[in-house]
Amino acid sequence: MAELIIISTLNGVLYGMLLFLMASGLTLIFSMMGVLNFAHASFYMLGAFLGFQISQWAGFIPAIILAPLIAGGLGALVERYGLRTVHKHGHVAELLFTFGLAFIIEEVIQMIWGKLAMDYRVPSFLDFSAFTIYATNYPAYKAFMLVFSIAIFIGLIFLLTRTRAGLIIQASLTHPNMVGMLGHNVPRVFMLVFGLGTSLAAIAGAIAGAAFVTQSNMAALLGPILFVVVVVGGLGSLWGAFVASLLIGLLQTFAIASDWSLSKFFGSYLSPTRGTILFDIWTVTIAQIGPILPYLLLVLVLIFRPTGLFGTRDT
């Protein structure tokens, strides 16, 4: 049991940190545009495919550096030549723009790389087990992912709260006009924030793609959960995204490890007839409903605390 708890905690934290890498960019972009970027998970996918391609040509280290840079650059271009133009027409137009962009990115990726899974592998120098807990190996690559994402998290906090650039960004997010008056180029700040946000997603993609499967459906699989993270954490709140990411990561992982069901609690007292709908509800385990728990959380948060855990503005 202790083994399962430790492994599940590690898995949950890792999953949570990956979610955070993506959610942090998404929530930053939301603070800026006031609109959810539907294409955010697509940049995650783009990061994975670029990471794969560059690792084929130049090796893994250049891949995880260049892939986010290229994806971030593309993100910045999208902001500069796409969103900034669309912005004039209001939020709905922006929302639809990112919605369409998600499909375009997916289609382009399928045209270039096809619909099949890429053979994106963990680099050989990280392909060993870092340590063994009881009898389960914890792969060095996963430890690397964990350390790497924590380092980026700390770096991001440092950038936003301790540097001049960070102060300007924070100020631009909340008081763009005032910052503009002070002589800063606010549109450029927005462009850079969009580029930064998308490159964070691409980093997550580039390192997660090797650990899981790099395939043109990655964005669709992960996209919805990202929205849950930013809404639960509070739209626009970086700390909220961090806490919500870990919360959802741990929630999903521990749900899977659990075999509890209603019948386990009440099984000896009463039981509905086998074959009825009630029986299905009675015997469904928490593990089975694990994947929908985040969405349940989303619904509950929206009902009872619409601002999210750390949010300040209404959703």
Partner: protein, 423 residues
């Protein structure tokens, strides 16, 4: 290091060259003529399971090209027309209706038992209401026994062995695997996965009462990206073998997570060979400890099958994941040639009970009682290919080795089907 992007272009060029060369080399006179007989292929061509749908489509395209090159069906060409059902039941029926509206009266589908049941019921109803415009449904991969039992239909024909036959093969094979003491069941949370789970529990108990079932899990279909939590649970259960019906990305990701955790167990699978599976299995590094059941595998020594496999790989860059697809289409062509008609009513009558030499050799037949195709089955294990084995999978250097064969007579299962046959 491989070059992925340019390879795609090269591949296109190669396809062009091969196609051109093939066209020149073919004896032109036997090439089928006239308006093609179209077959609608209704399967996922986008979304999570697109990889599987795409491989299937390429398989069928090649199978039909081969049939057409040898004169087609009754002298006419066969043509596959793709319809994307997006792995969605409602969309499946929409696409079948669309195919019928396009004038297609032969439907083939395989991925997803729940969609198969929907098609079978739809086609049956449609045929009752539209006499003279019947549609026939050729099922190449949806394996829920219910399709050839309680919900059987005269208009549904299945070429894949059903879950019961496959599980019987797996559990019979397990009789001699004395290292297996504790089995964990993990399956997809829908009709097919539930079927695998229930049959595994029942048959393991019958054939190896000493084996303990230490876990019984279902997870959502095509939604899990990281199976590490599931693997932790399997590990904690102390299992030494897993039985799973998982297919597509659900299998590849499951095995990949097992590889990461260093899970050293045996795997008994239905669809390990699907797109992405071989790559993940190579990473898991469990040589010849992952088994799959099927009607045929690439390295079975059979000259004609090996030539076919080689040509398919050269042209489309995919393996023959559906040897049963060859049986299906050749039998369809035979039915059309025999009856000299492309009318589904005549085709269904000819297929009903038809005997046929299967792709990897041996006799098979379409059982008239329930329209379940009966054929020999094989158990194969996945590991580094030996010198005399021509085929690896997904360029991993690993491939299939036959570990056991189940003769046709041992695959026969009872059916509760009471079929309404039109007179």
């Amino acid at each position: 290091m491989k070059w992925q992007m340019p390879k795609k272009l090269l591949g296109l060029a190669a396809v062009g060259l091969v196609a051109g060369a093939g066209y020149l080399a073919l004896p032109q006179k036997t090439e089928a003529q006239g308006a093609p007989i179209r077959i609608a292929y209704v399967d996922p061509l986008s979304g999570p399971m697109a990889g599987i749908g795409d491989t299937g489509l390429k398989n069928f395209q090649f199978i039909l090209e081969e049939i057409n090159a040898k004169g087609g069906a009754n002298g006419r060409r066969l043509e596959i027309v793709p319809y994307d059902n997006k792995l969605n039941a409602q969309e499946t029926i929409v696409q079948v209706q669309k195919a019928i509206d396009d004038g297609i009266r032969i439907i083939t589908q395989g991925n997803g038992t729940s969609f198969a049941i929907a098609i079978s019921e739809f086609v049956t109803k449609y045929n009752e209401r539209n006499p003279g415009k019947e549609v026939v449904y050729l099922n190449y991969a949806a394996v829920d026994p219910i399709l050839t039992n309680d919900k059987c239909s005269y208009w549904h024909f299945r070429w894949d062995a059903n879950t019961e036959q496959k599980m019987a093969a797996i559990t019979t094979f397990m009789k001699d695997r004395k290292n297996v003491k504790k089995v964990y069941l993990i399956n997809q949370d829908y009709a097919f996965g539930h079927g695998v789970r229930d049959l595994a529990a029942k048959m393991v108990k019958e054939k190896r009462p000493d084996i303990e079932i230490v876990g019984n899990e279902v997870h959502p279909l095509a939604k899990v990206t990281d199976f590490a939590p599931y693997i932790a649970k399997i590990k904690a259960s102390g299992a030494d073998a897993v039985i799973t019906g998982n297919w597509g990305s659900d299998f590849a990701l499951l095995v990949k997570a097992a590889a990461d955790a260093g899970l050293q167990i045996d795997w008994y699978t239905f669809y390990a060979g699907g797109t992405g599976g071989p790559t993940a299995m190579k990473q898991a590094n469990l040589p010849n400890r992952i088994f799959a059941v099927g009607e045929g595998f690439a390295n079975i020594p059979h000259k004609e099958a090996a030539d076919f496999e080689k040509a398919l790989r050269a042209k489309y860059g995919v393996s023959l994941f559906y040897p049963r697809g060859v049986n299906q289409m050749r039998m369809l062509a035979a039915a059309i040639s025999q009856t000299k008609s492309d009318d589904p009513k005549a085709i269904a009558k000819a297929l009903d009970g038809m005997k046929f030499q299967v792709f990897h050799g041996g006799e098979g037949y379409m059982r008239a009682d329930d329209h379940q195709f009966m054929q020999p089955l094989y158990m194969a294990s996945f590991g580094p290919i030996k010198a005399d084995q021509p085929f690896d999978e997904e360029k991993t250097g690993w491939g299939w080795t036959i570990a056991g064969k189940i003769d046709l007579k041992d695959t026969l299962v009872q059916t509760s089907c009471k079929m309404n046959k039109p007179s």
